[in-house]
């Protein structure tokens, strides 16, 4: 549940989600659920020339299992908190 909590903290920030089919979508993180399914708003496809049919998509739902990477904003990562949380989780408390 660590990354679920982590992504919940990132809601409202601008992220780029890269899918396993090489489609990359940038948008504002709207919500995330336990499977790390992601909902984005104000989306735009990074390579618009390659995916012309995605022009009119303004918000979207991405299945967690097809996500390859999530690119985060630089200020979205607090390594110390993650570090502590990982150890807390490992201790089971």
């Amino acid at each position: 549940m660590l990354f679920f909590s982590y992504f919940k903290e990132l809601v409202g920030k601008e992220v780029t989600v890269e899918l396993k089919n090489d489609l990359a979508i940038t948008g504002t993180l709207h919500s995330v659920d336990q499977y790390l399914n992601i909902k984005l708003e104000n989306t735009r496809v990074v390579d618009e020339a390659k995916y012309p049919h995605m022009l009119s998509v303004k918000n979207c739902f991405i299945r967690g299992s097809v996500v390859r990477y999530v690119q985060l904003p630089p200020d979205g990562v607090d390594v110390d908190i993650l570090h502590d949380a990982t150890r807390r989780e490992a201790r089971g408390t």
Binding site: L19, K20, N21, L23, H30, S31, V32, D33, N37, K39, T43, P52, H53, M54, L55, S56, V57, K58, N59, C60, F61, I62, R63, S65, V66
Partner: protein, 165 residues
């Protein structure tokens, strides 16, 4: 079946597909196809039911729409679901509407071209091999390589060239 209890739709509404119900959506499938239709239903696995579905086939700047009726996709096949904004044109103006057969023809032609390119590179790789042998200084292999090359270059002249060497 009533949608109630601790796992009710309400609880996960913010992160589920509920907000897309009865909206026009574009769904990308794992095999690369894209479907456009009205979201009729979905479940906890992400399986979806689309109504008045069309498959939008796109190849380079050509596209066509194939009617699919009611379309049910298994959850794991669905990779992406986006709401289509009706106020924005769905395709850029340079896209051309063609028939399904034409799209298939163009895809097939492109596949054949790339196959040919690939196989030609493999077939011609022995030319590279000659260069390597020559560098190693084995004249015998080099000559046999040249004979082989010439034999390929012209069927009728092949034996003549071989005799000359």
């Amino acid at each position: 079946m009533a949608l109630e209890g601790p796992h009710s739709v309400q609880q996960f509404e913010s992160s589920s597909l509920v907000s897309y119900l009865d909206k026009k959506v574009i769904v990308l499938l794992r095999d690369g196809r894209s479907m456009i239709g009205t979201m009729g239903s979905f479940d906890q696995h992400g399986a979806i039911v689309l109504l008045k579905t069309i498959e939008r086939m796109i190849f380079r700047r050509y596209y066509c729409d194939v009617p699919m009726g009611v379309f049910i996709a298994r959850g794991e096949e669905v990779i992406f679901c986006g709401e289509v904004d009706p106020t924005v044109p769905q395709l850029p103006p340079h896209m051309l509407l063609v028939t399904r057969d034409e799209i298939n023809e163009r895809r097939k032609a492109a596949r054949n071209t790339s196959y040919l390119k690939r196989t030609m590179r493999t077939r011609m790789s022995f030319l590279l091999g000659i260069g390597l042998r020559f560098n190693r200084g084995s004249a015998k292999n080099f000559i046999s390589g040249v004979v082989f090359t010439l034999a390929l270059v012209g069927g009728a002249n092949a034996s003549v060239c071989g005799e000359q060497i």
